[in-house]
Structure formats: structure tokens, C-alpha cells
Amino acid sequence: MLILFWILALTCVGASIAMVVTQNPVRSALYLVITFLCVAVFYVMLSAQFLAAVQIIVYAGAIMVLFLFVIMLLNLGAPQALRERGTLQPFFAAVLGTAFVVMLLLSNSLVALSKVRPAAPPEVYVPLGTVEGIGKNLFDPKQPWILPFEITSILLLVAIVGAVIMAKRRIQDHTP
């Protein structure tokens, strides 16, 4: 289990770094897919099979395919097309990224997560990551998650309506 974790962790971090560094946008997108798949396997290792399946279906299977679609449609195959020149963005990104990692390490040493964590997995299996577990937690009136969940769905609905309106307007503009 631990060996698997380290292999996956290194793959995941390596793929994320490669995604940022790679010049070729299609390869970059593929590295992001690898990262998503690694995260899905992490979910399975945490007994959250439903989340893993959703991660693969939604992110790797739908969103990244759309990304690839757009990248290929715009034909961004040439590496020079995307290269940014004369911006400070990489510098700031590096500084903030380092700060984030340092903060994570500090928080780990402050809270001492490694001491809190039980040595062995719990004996009683709590099906939190299954469909039943998530459904019960999400829609249970005693839990506080139902309101955020519904608000998120409204947010998505607004986004869908917005996308449709934008698309419609462009059609009207082009066909006066």
C-alpha cells in the first residue's frame, strides 16, 4: 500500500510538473490527464470508489477531452504559439508555489498529522466514499451539506444558461 502510494505520488507530482513545463499543449493536456488518473487511484485507495469513478468520468473523460478538442481545433500544435514573452508570471508562480509548499510542510509539522494518524486502518469500515455514503451525507437534513450542494447546482445552471445566451448572441450578430 505504501509502495503503491509513493509510486503514485511521484507519478502524480511528476506529471503535474511536466504539465507546466511542457511546451507542446497537447502533451501538456495529456500530463494533466495522468495527474487526474493518479488522483482517481488515490480516491480508490481511500475507499472512495464513487469519487474515483466521478473523477475519471467528469474530469478525465469529459473535461479533458473537451480541452483536447479545443486545443486540436485551434491547432495550437506549434510550441511557439503559446510561449509567453516578457511577463513576470512564471516568476510569481514559482514564488507563490514555493510559499504554498513551505506552508503545507509547516502546517504538517505544527499539527503533527503523522502522530494523529492511526497506525493501522480502522477496523470498522465506514462506507463514506460509496454512492450510499455520499448520498446519505449529502441529502441528510441533519447534515449541513444540502444547502451548499443545491447552491452549487444553481451555480452550474447559471453557467449553462450563460453559455447558451453567449452562443445565441453570437449567432444573431453574424446573421443580421
Binding site: V26, R27, L30, V33, V44, M45, S47, Q49, F50, A53, V54, I56, I57, A60, G61, A62, V65, L66, L68, F69, M72, L73, G77, P121, Y125, P127, G129, T130, V131, E132
Partner: protein, 428 residues
């Protein structure tokens, strides 16, 4: 399955816990079937299309052309492997591998049969004959099916050929569009079964009555399966979506030979082309198997009477899968290819709204039935079968270290609290 109650294997054979061996048996059966039938599928397809188009079809190699697939496979093996110039070599090589691996990975959770076992205390339970009895089996197949498009898209992009690229783009748009309708159609069946585990979905069909007050011999028969139980619309939607999802005619726009040469696999030759071919046929088997398991009762015989129940469940499942393959061939021989905008309009403007509306209608009807059943003093077995059975679900056994979740009580041992009539045990 009900008719097979007479044979039950002992759970422990000496020190060996037999149900633990079931996944390996399933692996051997299913992989053996898929790998043997693959060349046969090509033959079946060519012969059936030839029959439908009133011509002879392959008839030169072997009796009735039966050795034609062998000849084709040998030809594919020994063809020159051409590497075109200006391709993205790494992605060009990895694309068919992705396609074939994901195709085989997807078919792993299909449930072939349920094997009855008896443990030392005389309790009976069934173990689904499947490679991986995952509690989200259906979602797993959907996830793998949605990843399969990468093989096609990457092949199209890496070939550095505009026809290939167009084929890949079409494939990605088409698969995303039809995945939605496919998922919603499957959701209708999940709603009735109350589980995402394929074995549970089939078992829910085994204990169902076609309508309240139906005679007992119809329980779990062809009329009780979800193709009718969900109201016929989901199975039609799913069948259309499954053809589109596997990029077969009449939805074979990614490889439309009259406009795109050969689409995404234009630049592929010999074994790399054969791998795309394989992945396409395995994907067909997988989605047909999903159709058989979710809507057509999986391993169940169409009627629980003697001649049908003597045939083992695996054979029933394979018969149903092959009927799906026949449907594919039939469609290919009959229908012309859709225009691209018609394809998109069908997916987004017809199938998706219809599936959504039907899902709501079905959920409302189920809720009404459930309400009526809970208010009535004696609930009908029909409503009892609809009530989602919440089971304690263990994760994949290898990960959580739990005993195999398949050791749960099957339909033979009624779940405490559920309304399943024990009469369902009545073997004819």
C-alpha cells in the same frame, strides 16, 4: 438462476475458500470468450451483411469462408509496419495501446453468472461470476468507455494528417455527446434496481414481477426485466447511444470512408491498425454486455421453466451479448451514415431531453408506488422489489482488506426488512 438452485457448490473445499476463486474463473471464461470470438465477429459481420445484401460474402478460404478471419489476422501480423513522416512518434505508438488496454479493462466488471454456494452452516449465497465485483461496476464501465476516446483522439492528432485529425475531433465530440444520454438511460435502470453493482441489478430483475398481481411463474421472466420495467424508452435510448459510443455505423463518422479516407486510423498499418480493430470489437462486446446485464436480465433465462433453466447462465449472457452484436451488424447493413449536424441534433436535442424527462417520470412513478406500498397494510412484492436495498458495501477487496463483498446474502436469503416474498425461492 432460480432454476439452478438444485446445484450449489460447497463454500469450503478443504482449506480452499472456493468463492475466492470465482474472479479467476470469470477471467478465464470471459477473456477466453472475447479472444476466441474476436476473429469470429469479423466473419459473423461479413456473412450477416452479405446475407442481408443478398450476396455470397467470404467463401474462398475454408468451408463457408470460416478461415477468412484467420487469413485476415495472419495478413495483419505480417504486414509491413509503416511509420509515416512527421508524426508525433511517442503518442503515435501509444494511442492504439491506450485504446486496446482500456477496451479490455472496461469489460472486466461484466457479470457473467451467479454461482450458488453453500457454506458450512448450510446457508446459501451466490457469488457473481465476474472479474471484479466492484460496487460501482456500472460507473466503472462508463468511466473506461469515456476514456477510450483518448485512443482515437490521440491517434488522429499524432498522425499529423488532416483527415485523421478530423476523425479524432469528431470522435471526441460524438462520444461526449452520447455519453450523457447513455448515462441517463442507465440511470433509469439504476433507479429501479437501487444499486450500481451489476450483479445486484440483475438480481433485482430476477425477483421482480412484471406487474403487480402477475402470476408467480412470470417472476424474473423476460417480461420482468428492465427493458420493459423502465418503460422501453431507456433501452431504446441506450441502444442508440451504445452504437454511437463505439463509433459504429450509422454513427461511424470518425472513420467515414467516403469523406475522411479512413478517419483516425488512416496512417496506421499492420498490428497497430489491428489493435484499433480489436479495441472497437471489444468495446462492442462490452456495451452489448452492459445492455444485456442492465436491460435484458444478464444471465437469467427468459422464462423460469425447464428447457430454459437447463442452459447455464453464462450461455444465456453470451447469447444476449451476441444478439447485441447481431443488432450492430443489422444496423450497419441497413442504415445510411448520419450527417454530422444530424448526429449532434439527435444526441443533444432529442435523446438527452427525452432521457431526462423519462428519468423524472420514472422516479415520480416509483415514489408514488413506494408511498402507496408503505401506506398499505400488506405491501405488494412489486413495491418491495423497487425499494432500494441499502447494503453495507465493502470496497474492492484487495484495497480495503475486507472479505469479498460478494459474500453478501444473495436473493436466496431474503434481506431482513425487505419485502421480497420468500416465494421467489420456489424452483419449478
Amino acid at each position: 438462476m432460480i432454476g439452478q438452485l438444485a446445484i450449489a457448490f460447497p463454500a469450503n473445499l478443504g482449506p480452499i475458500y472456493l468463492p475466492a476463486l470465482v474472479p479467476y474463473i470469470a477471467l478465464v471464461i470471459w477473456l477466453g470468450f472475447v479472444l476466441t470470438i474476436l476473429p469470429g465477429l469479423i466473419w459473423i459481420e461479413r456473412v450477416v451483411i452479405a446475407l442481408m445484401q443478398d450476396r455470397s460474402g467470404p467463401n474462398r478460404v475454408g468451408p463457408r469462408g470460416l478461415l477468412q478471419p484467420t487469413a485476415d489476422v495472419i495478413k495483419l501480423f505480417f504486414k509491413e509496419d509503416v511509420l509515416p513522416e512527421n508524426v508525433d512518434v511517442r503518442i503515435y505508438y501509444i494511442a492504439p495501446v491506450i485504446a486496446v488496454i482500456l477496451a479490455f479493462a472496461a469489460c472486466g466488471t461484466l457479470v457473467l453468472d451467479a454461482i450458488p454456494f453453500v457454506d458450512a452452516e448450510g446457508r446459501q449465497f451466490t457469488v457473481p461470476l465476474t472479474v471484479g465485483d466492484v460496487n460501482i461496476g456500472l460507473l466503472y464501465i462508463l468511466a473506461m468507455a469515456s476514456l477510450q476516446v483518448y485512443g482515437i483522439v490521440l491517434a488522429g492528432w499524432a498522425s499529423n494528417n488532416k483527415y485523421s485529425l478530423l476523425g479524432g475531433l469528431r470522435a471526441s465530440a460524438q462520444v461526449i455527446s452520447y455519453e450523457l444520454a447513455m448515462g441517463l438511460a442507465l440511470l433509469c435502470a439504476i433507479l429501479m434496481a437501487g444499486s450500481l453493482r451489476l450483479g445486484d441489478i440483475v438480481e433485482a430483475q430476477a425477483t421482480r414481477l412484471p406487474f403487480p398481481g402477475a402470476p408467480e411463474f412470470l417472476r424474473g421472466s423476460i417480461l420482468a426485466w428492465f427493458w420493459l420495467g423502465t418503460g422501453l424508452i431507456p433501452v431504446v435510448l441506450y441502444t442508440i447511444a451504445m452504437v454511437a459510443e463505439t463509433n459504429r455505423a450509422p454513427f461511424d463518422l470518425p472513420e467515414a470512408e467516403s469523406e475522411l479516407i479512413a478517419g483516425f486510423h488512416t496512417e496506421y498499418s499492420s498490428m497497430k491498425f489491428a489493435m484499433f480493430f480489436t479495441s472497437e470489437y471489444v468495446a462492442m462486446l462490452t456495451v452489448s454486455g452492459l445492455n444485456a446485464a442492465v436491460f435484458w436480465g444478464g444471465w437469467l433465462p427468459p422464462l423460469n421453466v425447464a428447457p430454459f433453466t437447463l442452459i447455464p447462465g453464462v450461455l444465456w449472457f453470451i447469447i444476449k451479448v451476441m444478439m447485441g452484436i447481431f443488432l450492430y451488424t443489422w444496423l450497419r447493413a441497413t442504415l445510411p451514415r448520419l450527417r454530422y449536424d444530424a448526429l449532434m441534433a439527435l444526441g443533444w436535442k432529442r435523446m438527452l431531453p427525452l432521457a431526462l424527462v423519462w428519468l423524472f417520470v420514472l422516479a415520480g412513478a416509483n415514489l408514488a408506488l413506494e408511498r402507496r406500498a408503505s401506506s398499505a397494510p400488506l405491501p405488494t412484492p412489486e413495491a418491495g422489489a423497487i425499494v432500494p436495498r441499502m447494503r453495507s458495501t465493502g470496497g474492492p477487496a484487495s484495497i480495503t482488506g475486507q472479505p469479498p463483498a460478494s459474500a453478501e446474502p444473495g436473493p436466496q436469503t431474503p434481506v431482513p426488512g425487505s419485502m421480497e416474498a420468500p416465494a421467489s425461492n420456489g424452483a419449478p
